[in-house]
Assembly symmetry: C2
Homo-oligomer: 337 residues x 2
DNA sequence: CTGTTAGCGCTTTCAA
DNA sequence: TTGAAAGCGCTAACAG
């Protein structure tokens, strides 16, 4: 592997000039620039990012912290962030928390210290010590899916999205509407569970519909959890005529449970999810679409702008719109089957 | 951010001793070791990986190259690899090719040069120049999903897996079996399309069933492609009684098409996929399960062992088993609905 | 426009 | 067991 010194020697210039030419800096004669770049390509030279980082203090790496990777939402986020970073010449360093202990270890050790220039936090609700730890790093931090004073953030309005879903069911004449929810008690989880629950209750209240605690069942944001939650609702003395699941994946679980009970969707029970998961269309599931990749690109781009100093005081918190997508699971006339 | 020099000063030793103590090297007195580690934690010291890399030549980074991120298979791979790397104290640098031009740019620039110690290639069929470029890097390379002489690899037997799927349909009495395939013409794609096609044909031949080119339809490994492929088969003068889709996602597309035509699964057309995608169970889809995370962990672990010099000549190519999973899409008696 | 010089923070001989 | 010193490859003043 050739070094800058060899390139400089071959081009007949000093290391400084070679460095300037290669980095596209000003004050280099066209002739020198030309000879340097020829020498570099002849030698197959690549700058040692490690040596460059040591002197500049910048790594050209952005750390991305996720609670999971193998879930549709996070994979989509990673894709969006990676695309934005790659375009700007940054590398993506992936930190997956995996579970509670992984999370604790991460915030204790902060393995990304001195390894990144900025951090993207994907849909994690951070507690105060965690936030403090991240701030203490001194890097710009971008939050995706949540907002917190002083941090850059991009998200959707989960409350409004949930309200839209429930209003759709109400407009169809349903009043006994079940909710398959996430866990709001665990303070370390995402905000969606909390916000989508609020939206659900708001919509019912606004419509003058009495809410029933029995109809709010925990589904843990998984297919299996959604299935069990639905089963529990179906065991009620008076079962719901419609269900809002806080995620499409929980809605899939509900579909399974409903089919087991030989109940037809939407004739016996109407169903709407949230996300517009990649398979929602084939499942013919009505849902509230959220722009995942767009959120990822937005936060990454703005973080990069901050790093480059070109942010120009652009607002700290961006809220992207959601959209109701009506399919066969609430409207039989739209059923594709 | 404190430096090694400050730690050394605070502990009353030289930088050399501090470095040795911190890295757990031998020849350090217990007393010195103790004082150094106290000083380090007092100061909140973290080694500058960048400076360390510059002198050792090792980065503690592993590059992972993927064609996509936002597809179930690759997200699962990333998760497995990340877990294995994290455990060994390595960071994961993500390189997503995205498309043909991204791929070309990647192999031309090789942006991971001087940034990683090893490379994992996830389910990409590399052509000779690409393979040469990767080899030329001088890093250990691990292939996931394919094998190539001289490289470490972990994969499944796609031919055998496909054969199993088709044999299952044959055992059910089907003879007119359609195939929804991937694109075998594009030399830059995965091997699965090619291998699963072979398995399909092998199984038919072994059973003495005449294969029909009209029944082999391109589905491009997407839901939409699977749907269109199925539509085309249903338009044939004599439609198939069973379909093998080379991926679960294409099978989902087929389910959609079949429902549109009011055909029942499996009564009118039996259907089997490949992968055991996370939603295959809720779709009640029979399939051939492949251990994705296990493949990822295996290749990452062995790559790390090679790096550590502890590989001990462990075989270069590991083939993990697949498993037939029978559900309601081929066996009505097992239907969960 | 170009070259000289001084480190960035660390590991690793080599000597003591 | 410990320390001094020499770089790893590069960038960024500072002169010229």
């Amino acid at each position: 592997m050739s070094s800058l010194a060899e390139v400089a020697r071959r081009a007949g210039v000093s290391k400084a000039t070679a460095s300037r030419a290669l980095s596209g800096a000003a004050h280099v004669s066209p002739a020198a620039r030309e000879r340097v770049s020829t020498a570099a390509s002849d030698l197959g030279y690549v700058v040692s990012s490690t040596a460059a980082s040591l002197v500049t203090g910048r790594t050209k790496n952005v750390g991305v912290i996720t609670p999971f990777i193998n879930r549709w939402f996070f994979a989509e986020v990673l894709d969006g962030v990676e695309t934005a970073l790659r375009q700007a010449g940054f590398d993506l360093l992936l930190y997956n928390l995996g579970d509670g202990s992984g999370r604790a270890r991460f915030f204790e050790l902060l393995p990304l210290r001195k390894r990144v220039d900025a951090v993207v936090v994907a849909s994690l609700v951070l507690d105060e010590p965690e936030l403090a730890a991240l701030s203490g790093l001194g890097y710009p931090v971008g939050l995706l899916g949540t907002a917190h004073g002083g941090f850059l953030s991009t998200r959707i309005d989960d409350v409004a999205g949930a309200r839209t879903a429930v209003e759709h069911l109400l407009s169809l004449g349903h009043e006994r509407i079940g909710l398959i929810s996430g866990d709001t008690d665990d303070p370390l989880r995402f905000t969606p569970p909390l916000h989508r629950l609020h939206g659900y209750r708001q919509a019912l209240r606004a419509a003058g519909v009495q809410s029933d605690p029995d109809l709010e069942v925990l589904g843990y944001f998984t297919i299996a959890g959604g299935s069990e939650a639905c089963e529990r609702m179906l065991a009620l003395p008076e079962r719901p005529t419609a269900i809002f699941a806080e995620s499409d994946e929980m809605a899939y679980g509900a579909i399974r449970a409903l089919r087991r009970h030989r109940l037809r969707v939407p004739d016996d029970v109407a169903l709407i999810g949230f996300d517009d998961h990649v398979t929602a269309e084939v499942m013919d599931l009505s849902t509230v679409r959220q722009p995942v990749a767009a959120q990822a690109v937005d936060i990454a781009t703005r973080l990069l702008a901050t790093l480059a100093g070109t942010n120009g005081e652009a607002g700290g918190d961006v809220v992207l719109p959601t959209e109701l997508v009506v399919r066969g699971s609430t409207d039989p006339s739209r059923s594709v089957y």
